[in-house]
């Protein structure tokens, strides 16, 4: 008796109904071999950078420890992938570089999603003059050359963050190593996210605008719900699909921006290193020691591939109509 009661429990019904939509998408995703492969590679790389690297670091493998007697050790001679131009363990350097690259990209994407959903959601839900003014601003910002603006923006923030870092170290006695590591990441992340949310805002606006005309929103309004509640409880959850798709495709493009800026020397600075920085350093030893360039370059390209295939696959799975290009 008691089991039948449990089955008809309303909670159960809601869970089933909610999962079936996503389960459908997952079935479609599973059919897409490339996307699944991309997803698996993404998980492996995330595990390597955020789980394996800290564990190895805790056991005493230091990515920044120099050993000048063992420069350019070959694969397997010292460490797993040998050593770089200063005798540092290449394997650890690539993993820790990946940590920084991915951290910047993921943090910036989270900021992008937050800003984009709030801004685009308001613009789409309110609509009218306010909505179109908000979108004109986005259009104007989109017309600006992205990299140039990001470079300038980063330089401005860097000055302020450096001052704060100095204050934290000198006056509050914080650990200077930790502070400096983060002080270098923050300006780049904010600069990328500060101008990277524009496309997300547009996508969110268009889906919010079409959702806010539907009956369930009217029903919610007739129940006397506040605008904030309608927007964040009823409209935002319904546009999760496009937001997830676009966020997955945003991560690789942010990894790319980070690497580009680091490569020209306007991104990550020592003591941090990222894939872009490692590739730039490795390029100097191109003719004598290919491995120093090849390892970060392969990891970097592999990550971009994996995220892009996963994102494309998610788009095909969650939004079959928009999967043409």
């Amino acid at each position: 008796m008691s089991t039948t009661v449990q089955v008809t429990h309303p909670k159960e019904v809601v869970a089933e109904k909610g999962s079936s939509l996503w389960a459908d998408a997952f079935v479609r995703l599973k059919k897409n071999k490339l996307a699944m492969l991309g997803g698996i590679i993404v998980i492996i790389i995330l595990l390597l950078c955020f789980v394996v690297a800290p564990i190895l670091a805790a056991t005493g493998m230091d990515a920044n420890k120099q050993d000048l007697t063992n420069r350019f050790a070959g694969i397997g001679e010292k460490g797993i992938l040998g050593t770089d131009q200063l005798g540092r363990d290449l394997f650890m350097r690539v993993l820790e570089g990946g940590q920084i690259s991915l951290l910047v990209a993921i943090l910036a994407t989270c900021m992008t999603v937050t800003i984009g959903v709030i801004y685009g959601g308001i613009a789409g839900y309110v609509g009218g003059t306010l909505g179109s003014i908000m979108m004109r601003i986005v259009d104007g910002l989109l017309a600006m050359p992205f990299l140039i603006i990001v470079i300038l923006f980063r330089e401005i923030i860097t000055g302020h963050v450096d001052l704060t870092a100095k204050f934290l170290i000198d006056d509050w006695g914080w650990n200077d190593n930790t502070v400096l590591r983060f002080a270098n990441l923050i300006p780049l992340t904010i600069a990328i996210a500060g101008f990277g949310w524009l496309s997300m805002g547009r996508i969110v606006r268009s889906s919010a605008a079409s959702l806010s005309k539907q009956e369930f929103v009217e029903a919610a309004r007739s129940l006397g719900l506040s605008h904030r509640r309608i927007l964040f409880r009823h409209i935002v959850p319904n546009m999760l699909g496009p937001v997830i798709i676009y966020a997955t495709l945003t991560i690789p493009s942010f990894i790319l921006y980070e690497a580009t800026l680091s490569f020209i020397g306007l991104g990550i600075e020592p003591p941090n290193s990222s894939w872009g920085k490692l590739i730039q350093e490795g390029a100097n030893y191109l003719e004598t020691n290919m491995v120093v360039l090849a390892v970060p370059a392969i990891m970097f390209s592999l990550t971009l591939f994996a995220f892009n295939f996963l994102g494309d696959g998610l788009r095909d799975a969650l939004d079959p109509k928009a999967s043409k290009d």
């Binding site: 300038l152 971009l304 290009d325």
Partner: protein, 305 residues
């Protein structure tokens, strides 16, 4: 058509105005000053330098002075490279960037558009998958990975090709090839999308039913509308190649505009950065206008409206 040109020109003027205004105040908000890197200058000398370049005046006055000078065709002097005018630096580096950008754009079109057409014609067959994997490779294997690979695998075996530098005519080849892959990749994806759209249209089916050969269907009926998304992309892409080729210029030591921009930002050379940004803005407007005109030329529906 006149309406399109007018609206594009107005838009460009607004964007350039906002861009210059933003950058004007942004470069001045960057910590540091342009004369700090000089050999031990006394505060008096610094003040004299600032007065000479008009940097001691209030920001708003400087801002209006800047526009006044620009209206007279004067972009000011470079602050970091003493004795050189910004306009000279731009006129020296722009032809280099333009040549490189145009060549890589044409190479990208030559590779990307046929690839996209093939992918669409063999939709969901191995040719399609292969083309799309190649396109994805073009997006993911970026310039600073490709550049070193090309230096090693192309220019070293071929001894007549320089690894880097900008002295001989052939030096343009490697950076152009490196740059063209990204363009080709996006063009391939856009062309495939456009082609798939067009191929599902009724008039293509009618043409097939009449027995028109496939090649003729593509060239006479399908190609023009199918290329519309690609052409829309080309305008911004051209501006992006010229503005965003810092990396390739860095790898192959090309004396283009990107190098000046990076140097200008790091050495607080306000006038140089502003001049370049102003120039970029105008260039972007022109590129967008050209792609608008190309669209009008291609689509009779746009022409009549």
């Amino acid at each position: 058509m006149l309406k399109t040109i007018l609206s594009r020109v107005t838009q460009t003027i607004i964007v350039v105005f906002l861009l210059v205004t933003f950058v004007f105040f942004a470069v001045r908000a960057i910590p540091g000053n342009p004369f700090a890197s000089d050999k031990a200058t006394s505060p008096e000398e610094q003040a004299a330098l600032e007065a000479y370049y008009g940097l001691d005046k209030p920001l708003v006055v400087q801002y209006f002075n800047y526009w006044k000078n620009v209206a007279q065709g004067d972009f000011g002097d470079s602050l970091a490279m003493k004795g050189r005018k910004v306009s000279t630096l731009i006129s020296e580096s722009f032809p280099v960037s333009l040549k490189l950008g145009l060549l890589s754009l044409f190479l990208g079109m030559g590779i990307g558009i046929p690839l996209g057409i093939i992918a669409a014609l063999f939709h969901n067959k191995w040719q399609d998958y292969l083309a799309m994997v190649i396109a994805m490779a073009g997006i993911c294997i970026v310039a600073f990975v490709l550049g070193p690979i090309f230096q090693l695998s192309i220019s070293r075996p071929l001894t007549w090709l320089n690894v880097a530098g900008w002295n001989r005519t052939s030096d343009i080849l490697l950076p152009a090839i490196t740059l063209c892959f990204g363009v080709a990749a996006y063009l391939a994806r856009l062309t495939r999308g456009g082609m798939l759209d067009v191929l599902s249209q009724d008039y293509i089916r009618t043409a097939k039913a009449k027995g028109v050969p496939t090649l003729q269907i593509i060239t006479k009926h399908a190609l023009r509308p199918a290329l519309m998304p690609a052409v829309t992309f080309l305008g911004p892409a051209f501006a992006a190649i010229i503005t965003g080729s810092f990396v390739v210029e860095n790898i192959f030591l090309v004396p283009g505009m990107g190098q000046h921009f990076v140097l200008g930002v790091t050495s607080n050379d306000y006038n140089l950065v502003l001049g370049l940004v102003l120039f970029y803005g105008i260039l972007m407007g022109i590129a967008n206008l050209l792609s608008d005109l190309a669209l009008i030329f291609m689509d009779p529906k746009l022409r009549n409206s």
